[in-house]
Symmetry: C2
Subunit: 186 residues, 2 copies
């Protein structure tokens, strides 16, 4: 691994554990096993390094890579719900960084977050209108419910409580959510 990569990785880890202001450049360089001078030579400033981390570890490509499952009805929602949940889990550190920068939101962090929600809703929008047969308006609201629930669940259970839920708990939740959203008039 190049020095650049090692620094990026170390920065990712540090920022996600202690936030932007809680992390020092000394700390990052030590964790990366390089000198602090190298860090500044390669990235110019702490802020710039932070930006690169945000780009490098973004969850957005992961979400884009999720394929819309064939078929229809509840089963499809369960499938996509699980895929999304485990994508969130895989990028937990990235999401922690995002959350911790909610205060003093710089435009760029805000933009990253907006694109994250857009990407999610776009994917779910496609799934919902193909798998369930819903009007544009119905679909949009249900997508919001589904997306919010999944995201809220992940944040509460995994990020804040700092644990990793057993598979059955995740399944139970996603099934319940999918059933709720795919049934009824809501």
């Amino acid at each position: 691994m190049t020095a650049r990569e090692r620094i990026l990785e170390a920065a990712y880890s540090c920022f996600s554990r202690k936030g932007y202001f809680g992390t020092t450049t000394r700390e990052i360089s030590q964790a990366a096993g390089v000198s602090e001078v190298t860090l500044f030579r390669l990235f110019g400033s702490k802020k710039e390094l932070f930006r690169e981390v945000l780009i490098n570890y973004s969850i957005i490509p992961d979400i884009r890579a999720i394929s819309v499952p064939e078929g229809s009805g509840e089963e499809v929602l369960i499938d996509i719900g699980l895929k999304l949940f485990f994508s969130l889990r895989e990028k937990k550190e990235f999401l922690k960084i995002l959350l911790s920068e909610v205060t003093g939101l710089t435009e760029e962090v805000e933009e990253v977050y907006s694109r994250f929600v857009e990407t999610l809703e776009e994917l779910l929008g496609r799934v919902f209108s193909s798998a369930l047969s819903l009007s544009e308006g119905e679909s949009r609201t249900k997508v919001k419910v589904f997306r919010s629930a999944l995201f809220g669940f992940f944040i509460s259970e995994e990020v804040f409580q700092g644990r990793e839920l057993p598979y059955e708990d995740v399944i139970r939740f996603v099934k319940s959510l999918s059933a709720a959203v795919s049934g009824g008039r809501g």
Copy 2:
């Protein structure tokens, strides 16, 4: 207002806008209109002040104060959903502080968060088992869906996007969520 109160209020505001590490004690004391020495005399340390802010502005009493509505069915869920949403909004700053401290979670912040979720689930548990007629297990999972969706929705739309949703949007969401959760087998 006493100096103590002014400092608490200023600290609350600063921490919610810039996080713990992003805020300096100088800043707080200036915002409070007192000298920095006074801040340290009254609170001992920055950390202690932070703790007091967390206690003083906690959302938990707000949630405890919400009365379980009479009646049954979907209407009740809508009622409680709206009450909860507007409680979250009223304590947005507190929640921002909580979110921003998700990195480097101290035990105390983690505990505050746990109690927050417990309080929420307890309230919703009572509502769900009285208003809908559900078994213990069904109720518990539906409560999780309801709670996660509401919380996730609030965080995405209001905290991260930094805006205040128009009332109709909130209503539409809560109605859709309530319908989804109260109908079906989920």
